[in-house]
């Protein structure tokens, strides 16, 4: 779907359509670019501040693009007991970004998740849908290195 047809699907000046419109735009771009938010504000007839308020309220919306590798770190109870905080800190310092951010080269994003239901192999992370369990800071280093090599 191109950008124009996204907007065409929503009748203008209807504020109740704000969230589905934002969802479609995020689907298209992978995140919500600022210039698109301005167009959304014009289209639904709301101030940009209100659109921004909605975008920052819901976890589903992203204002920055995601990296090629999305690393989800489980911070559920079992993983926490098994040292997931150290795993998270290791990934953060390896990549030089915090959870919720994306590296400048758009290669990595870090997200935290409450529980992924894989407690038996805690601590666990998921990279682009692939599960990695029983991790240590050392194995993390290796995993990230592999991703970097693949580019």
């Amino acid at each position: 779907m191109n950008e124009q047809s996204i907007f065409d699907a929503y009748s203008p000046k209807d504020t109740s359509l704000l969230i589905p419109l934002l969802q479609d735009i995020q689907e298209e771009y992978g995140y919500l670019p600022e210039d698109q938010l301005e167009k959304v504000a014009d289209h639904v007839g709301l101030p940009l501040s209100r659109v921004y308020g909605v975008v920052t309220f819901y976890n589903q919306f992203r204002l920055k693009p995601l990296g090629k590798y999305v690393i989800k770190v489980c911070r559920g109870t079992a993983c926490h007991v098994k040292g997931s905080l150290e795993i998270l800190r290791t990934i953060e310092s390896e990549l030089g970004i915090k959870a919720g951010d994306t590296t400048k080269d758009l290669l990595f994003s870090i997200e935290t998740v409450a529980c992924m239901g894989a407690c038996s192999i805690a601590p666990v992370i998921v990279i682009n849908g692939n599960y990695y369990g029983g991790l240590t800071p050392k194995s993390i280093h290796k995993l990230i290195k592999q991703c970097k090599e693949r580019g």
Partner: protein, 570 residues
């Protein structure tokens, strides 16, 4: 229907809230987020009351009455809950009351004192926030914000600007412009209504007190002050006087005692504005130029049009606002008369307005130097009078300096919504007919409504006019102009509801009763003057004779007229 509040049976209308009924009965229920006339949000929970059979405490601002309802506004449960709410708010607050601009005038501080909060009972993580000091008019301190949302509702619902909103969620919630920008990079019009409606110190004016003191202490500078029409009927409130008390002479005396060299009156320049604006209106009508003409004295309104309707800028009167005209005349005519180098003159405007601070910095308002060097608000002047150790009430009444201190009743009524229109009609009538209007007072555009319309017949010219205040009220009229269906010849717009007497720089808190009294006082000033039409101002006549020639002359255009800038919405 009847309800019982604190064992007292009282009468209530269906649809009213408990808070409204209690207020009428003189029972005070504390509030923080409540804004009269706006939909309740129930965000702060301060107004909780106990309702029989409800099981838990309910916010009285949002709870409608029903027949036979039994309410307790002051039970032990209610008191305990309110105190806890205050303690929790304080726990997430900087606790720097001694150095806060709202020290002594803060709803949270007052409530903490009333409810006997004597310790910081809860200690925990505090929300971090970035100071936003970048705009020339408004400063934001998000750490002080208690998230009542009053500024947001005012900005969106009353002003249709929407520069700020609640963003993020939970612990990270904060009030911010879009994309976490600074206010000076979004379409904020600097009306300052957010400041007047903030219960705490999260929003404040950018202070220019220091620059004014520095100019006063600089022996090389001739400091000339001017006072806006609306300041003289409100500043008394800062010193415990009744709202609407007219204290013009005391302000003049205070300024002289503070060390200001010359004290002029913006009302003089209001008269001058009328001469130019009435002339411009007649020009536009007789030469079939762009109509309707819209007034340009409210800088918040001007910035609103620049951001949101840049295609309509030709409709704005080219007249500078009165204090800018006064500054321009001080630094040309008056400087020449006194033999003073205009670069040595420091003009300080005392205004009921925050947007005037931004306006004074506009590059087009001045040539080699700005027309006005500093703008301070009513509140800032009150602070300076206190620092100067002056007992305001005991000050004598002193008169303005000549010649830019003379004014008529027409200049005085600039302080209220509809006043500029009324003043302009008085002079336009005389310009067209050579005679003054038989009825000087024009009641159809008086009163506290947001939109006032009328039509007048001046020598066969039928004028359709409107006076609008509060920016939400102007959108429909502007859209009509865009569609080409507007029937008006002349529209007055004031950004703040009810005009300058309710400006963003006025004493806090404001209330409908105070606004009414300030308005009445302005009309009283007009009534008490022998001369009530701008063209009767002798100093104005002399100014044209000696310097400007006639309204709309080349010199007048150079000094008293301006142009506007297209701005982006984002």
């Amino acid at each position: 229907m009847n309800i019982t509040i604190n064992n007292l049976e009282v009468w209530a209308n269906p649809g009213e809230t408990i808070l409204e009924v209690a207020e009428r009965e003189g029972i005070r229920i504390p509030t923080l987020c409540y804004l009269k006339g706006f939909s309740p949000t129930g965000a702060c929970r301060m107004c909780m009351v106990e309702i029989q059979n409800e099981g838990r405490l309910m916010p009285s601002c949002a709870f409608p009455v029903y027949d036979g309802m039994i309410v307790q506004t002051n039970s032990p449960n209610v008191r305990r809950a309110r105190k806890t709410i205050i303690e929790l708010l304080i726990a997430n607050h900087p606790q720097d009351c001694l150095v806060c601009i709202r020290n002594g005038n803060c709803s949270l501080q007052t409530l903490a004192a009333e409810y006997g909060v004597r310790s910081y009972r809860y200690v925990g993580q505090r929300r971090k926030g970035k100071l936003d000091l970048a705009s020339p008019s408004i400063e934001r301190d998000p750490e002080k914000c208690i998230l009542c949302g009053r500024c947001v509702r005012i900005c969106h619902e009353m002003q249709h600007v929407g520069a700020i909103d609640l963003v993020n969620r939970g612990f990270n919630s904060t009030v911010s412009p879009a994309m976490d920008r600074s206010l000076n990079t979004v379409a904020c019009v600097y009306c300052g209504q957010c400041i007047v409606n903030c219960p705490v110190g999260a929003l404040r004016e950018k202070s220019d007190q220091k620059r004014v003191w520095e100019a006063i202490n600089n022996t090389d500078k001739l400091v000339v002050a001017q006072i806006a029409p609306a300041v003289r009927v409100s500043i008394g409130e800062e010193f415990g006087l009744e709202p609407g008390e007219i204290v013009t002479g005391k302000i003049v005396a205070a300024l002289r005692r503070m060390g200001i060299d010359t004290v002029f009156d913006t009302n003089f320049a209001a008269d001058l504005t009328i001469m130019e604006e009435a002339h411009e209106l007649i020009e536009r009508i007789t030469h079939h130029k762009t109509l309707p003409m819209i007034t340009s004295c409210s800088p918040g309104w001007v910035k609103y049009l620049e951001h949101f309707y840049p295609d309509l800028l030709d409709h704005l009167s080219t007249c500078k606002s009165p204090h800018e005209m006064e500054g321009a005349v001080i630094k040309s005519y008056y400087a020449r008369k006194m033999g003073v180098n205009p670069e040595k003159i420091f003009v300080v405007s005392i205004m009921p307005c925050i947007a005037k601070k931004f306006e004074a910095q506009r590059p087009e308002l001045g040539n080699d130097f700005q027309d006005v060097d500093a703008v301070i608000t009513t509140r800032e002047l009150a602070r300076m009078i206190r620092i100067a150790g002056l007992d305001f009430e005991r000050l004598p009444n002193e008169a303005f300096d000549d010649p830019l201190g003379e004014s008529t009743g027409a200049g005085a009524i600039f302080g209220v919504a509809g006043g500029v229109m009324e003043a302009a009609l008085r002079t336009a009538h005389a310009m067209l007919t050579g005679k003054d209007m038989p009825m000087i007072e024009f009641s159809p555009i008086r009163g506290l409504q947001g939109v006032k319309e009328a039509s007048v017949d001046i020598q066969g010219i039928k004028l359709k006019i409107a006076a609008v205040s509060g920016l939400k009220n102007i959108d429909i009229l502007l859209q009509d102009i865009q569609k080409g269906t507007s029937e008006y010849h002349f529209i007055e717009v004031m950004a703040c509801p009810n005009g300058c007497i309710n400006g963003g720089g006025q004493p806090i808190p404001s209330s409908p009763e105070k606004i009414k009294k300030r308005t009445e006082a302005i009309y009283k000033i007009d009534q008490g003057l022998a001369k009530r039409c701008s063209h009767h101002n002798q100093s104005i006549q002399k100014l044209y004779k000696e310097f400007l020639e006639k309204p709309g002359s080349h010199t007048a255009h150079e000094l008293l007229h301006t142009h506007y800038t297209k701005r982006n919405r984002y």
